[in-house]
Symmetry: D2
Subunit: 353 residues, 4 copies
């Protein structure tokens, strides 16, 4: 059950990096919503490898095939299964890593957990698994649009460079997917430098949901903060998440950071649109810490299955900074989380809220 | 279903701040484990109000009553229900707030969600709900102990003051619950200053699990990072969570931060003991951002249910900094999360791992 | 997690027969519904022991205490915890059975499962656990009433005697809870005969939901038939369930049993109000096979924990036929199942259906 | 979420009868188990249409494609996605039924539930959905085999003809899949007669699990009876389920039907191998009532979407009795249910039980 997310809008991904395919089943998509394969493909294209020199050069067209759940272009309310074939799998390149646990990767943990693993490109732990998430997110966005909710996102930090502006229209105009055109240039430089050094660099991705009405999410265990936190930390290579002002609130006082409601709107948004686990009508703002990609070209010491160590240099096709490709994934996970919260609120109150 | 957490070790809390009682049902506790009420009471005592001048002066003995699931001092494997009566509920003090939405609180969000709310002390959104979590955590700790896992935690930041040392034996020796005796003094000063200013201050809590073997947690959607993230962000007043080095990884390179395994142990622990969502045998390290408590004595503008605004000053019994009391809650939620992961790994492999 | 039922309306029971208390937490009750303790007590009184000579003489007042989830007489949408103390527990009577596995009972299975068990009166496997279900059912009925749905039920077979009529107003007028006054007299005779013979006798209980609109329930795995089947077979001592004509359909032809819709209503109801797992607007009709109670006064051979056998005669307080007391439990479980289906349909369509 | 079954071994099916494909994702398959496509194909071949004149003549090869979760012939512990293409879909044949609600079918209920439906061959409500279940069941059987558990099943009633013998080796030797060779001939006659009369006939299917140790299943809400009941009643066209002697117990006394344990084995098996919801070491025995197939060639009155009625005769490819094809599906659902119970027991006790 580890591969499912959500209660009423339930997303289940499958697939290994170098197996036949990756994909997703989305169960709980509301009926009667127009969906075209192009709607899904557009989001997959934002995630797929090879978009620029800043990302991996693995060549995957990532063409989606929709297997179920649609009839005459409209959702049936039944499960929507979607499939992307792996076409540029090069298993032989990984043969040397069959009995090696790469530093920073999940190789050792998988081996200890399962007693068996697919060593080719990370297998299930590969970022390729996120194709299914993005497919699901495309559906979630279409559902949310009927509720007036839209989601934007971008890379707001790479290395030490931070975006100052949040010009969301800028995001798709630069390869870093940064909402600050000036910072984007600097960030691209940092990424190129990492790539040239056969290294990788981390960053931060921010996603924002606009138009979420007050009342989505639940108190206590299923707080919207908690569900969004789980959604984000389920994305490969993420190691932190914050809502609204997040960790910066640690150094602040209540008199400064208590959001005040006035005339049905909040004057400030320190809480990131969520109070007591429930949306309060302000923008929902989430930031995700993305670690440097573990695959780097530099020689590294690595443990072997036999118990010793060896030196490896991971050749080839990896991302020097995965933030640009995490952006559509984080947006997708936010969309998936919010649809679920929306449907739960509809269950609670029996009408559109 | 919003009040439950976990799959195989399932914790369900109930209760409002000023209702008859708060409590918890724990379903999935392994059978045959010795449990005494004192084991639970000890943890509840760490969470209860009125422990020092740094915390709220509400007087609650928080005496636990165990209603089920034990027989002759041993767990039966059946649900364990536990109850704490609310004895110092002063509903009348809140009458003035019946139609007011307090700044920073969840009042407005609850009203919009449910159309009805218990305005007395936050009702369900009160920190009192966490008594049930701590009770569940006490059981989880006993279960984990049989697997060789222990959990420590403490306040590592208050305002701008950060702990440098991690001397866990120090934690219960100072009222801040800080693992750095020197920093604890400074932190106490910051908290006292906030209290005198009728204000509140935020902070950061860190929890660490020791002895977790490699192999707990699941890939993709139920990553241990994700479950711990949800666990922490379900605690009232938390707005951020990070695993291992967390947000600091954004500014680093892969060549610096790839944890290297050698001789079955990791040399470093940037990943906080979790790789690909699965424990890797290193300490599991989680930090939680705690916002300043929303209840402050200073006059604040507040919205009214009628649509206008008023000025309020919240008299009396609130925490100037809730970090010291979040510590046992965060430990409890980590314990609860890890027991669940442990049981799932037992299901997967059919033997103790 | 074995003690929970439902997804959006989630019922979690707790308690052993001779422990301090039995009870329930209901999470997902819609907000804004008026609930009085008397509403719950009335249903509990229908289930409690000692109502007539046809049932066990254990003396339990079964007074409910509501611990949370209500405010000024109205549901908050938060968990409702309810408690019934065990007052007539006579643990000493069971001492002789500490190391004996009673025939027909779950003693051996519990021992093998858990390695430990509460031997006093069946512990968790006792019918006393159903008090929590009935409490939850009382809430579910109140919720369903707002949707125009009501539930009736009765004993329709005892031994070889079958009810012919379905006069639901008759049910509470006879101690068998049979909707056929004539058959009720015969049934009472069969039960009395069993009691005098220190034996027990089985029967069938029928429950019917009226006013369920078309569209509740889900296709495939969560068919309304399946959920009702699980609900009924989770009741102690049940060994069969059928929807509509059930097993009688095995001997029929499609041309006879295909329900025909005409003018928005079904002419017949062979399918028991559910088609393809979804309610079709006709009455939902479910029957449950109830086995003879396992506790009987006659001497029986019983296995011992040591591996041998002994002879036991279970003295005292047991039901010669549990059907009259299963009726409110089966009604409760149907109510619980239908509320969940209703809420899920509200989630799907976003308005009252 | 309606398309998923199970907690630790989670089966999610997808697909419409006349869409591109049907399939399944199995999440929770234990790692390290050898699986060949042929293992799955063999079970699918038992379910697929066109096996004899007693079943539908729709031509579907039902070739399985395994998309994930295997590596070098062994399960990885990750989700296993499987796909069967629909190749003999003849959507045009259903055009006349676009706005008609067929008697006995789920057409009307789907329309009321979703507001939209795929009218072609029942869409999601078609028996074709069960291909995914059978694929999952094939995996479940391989897992259970490692625990020493095997499953058999057969048609034990068609119309008024009941099997007397339970010679499970006989099942695959006759097209009815009856474990009684003599009864099989009679049953085949009944089915042929129904087919010639353009009608359909019901029956009963029995499935038995052998080798289940005591201790699987849970008390109260997740009783093994309840889970098996849900599993069976989730199969299309089923309207009843009984465990062990089931409904026959209603007419019996406790002194006759209390199973007595002696020397670690039960002398009798009235309870069908389950006591208090937990397996007791005896064979687990379940029977399922199968209604006559709703599709029949005879003219029938049918409601139209516009609110009137029409007369329809369903031409062509349908099953006069679906019991022979329900057998592998019921076996699959039992296997799926038992694997889940097994894994949960491993979680509880931490070792093979």
């Amino acid at each position: 059950m580890s591969s499912s997310f959500g209660t009423l809008f339930r997303v289940t991904t499958f697939g290994e990096s170098h197996g036949p395919a990756v994909g997703v089943v989305v169960d709980g998509m509301p009926p009667g919503i127009a969906v075209a394969a192009a709607d899904v493909q557009r989001e997959l294209d934002r995630r797929r490898p090879g978009q620029s020199t800043l990302t991996t050069q693995r060549q995957e067209a990532d063409r989606v095939e929709i297997l179920s759940g649609l009839f005459e272009g409209v959702t049936l309310g039944t499960p929507i299964a979607m499939l992307v074939r792996n076409t540029d799998a090069r298993a032989e390149e990984y043969e040397a890593l069959r009995d090696v646990f790469r530093p920073g990767h999940a190789d050792y943990a998988y081996q200890q957990k399962y007693g068996v693993r697919d060593h080719r490109g990370g297998g299930r732990s590969s970022g390729r698994e996120t194709a299914g998430r993005v497919g699901a997110g495309a559906l979630a966005r279409l559902a949310l649009a009927t509720a007036g909710v839209s989601i934007v996102g971008g890379t707001v930090q790479v290395g030490a460079v931070k975006a100052v502006r949040r010009d969301w229209d800028e995001v798709e105009k630069n390869p870093v997917r940064c909402p600050d055109a000036g910072a984007a240039v600097e960030m691209a430089g940092v990424i190129e430098a990492a790539r040239e050094a056969k290294d990788s660099v981390g960053g931060v991705v921010e996603v924002v949901a606009r138009g979420v009405p007050a009342g989505w999410g639940d108190p206590t265990m299923a707080k919207l903060d908690a569900l969004l936190g789980a959604a984000m930390l389920s994305i490969p290579a993420t190691k932190g998440v914050e809502i609204g002002e997040g960790f910066a609130l640690a150094a602040r006082h209540g008199s400064e950071t208590n959001d005040v409601l006035e005339g049905g709107r909040y004057r400030t948004n320190f809480a990131g649109g969520i109070a007591g686990g429930i949306s309060n009508g302000a923008d929902v703002v989430v930031r995700v810490a993305v670690r440097p990609a573990s695959s780097i070209g530099r020689p590294q010491v690595a443990a072997t299955k036999a118990g010793g160590t060896t030196t490896i240099a991971i050749a080839g096709r990896h991302d020097p900074c995965i933030c640009p490709r995490v952006v559509p994934v984080a947006e997708a996970m936010m969309a998936v989380t919010l649809v679920d919260a929306w449907l739960r609120q509809r269950a609670l109150r029996g009408r559109e809220k």
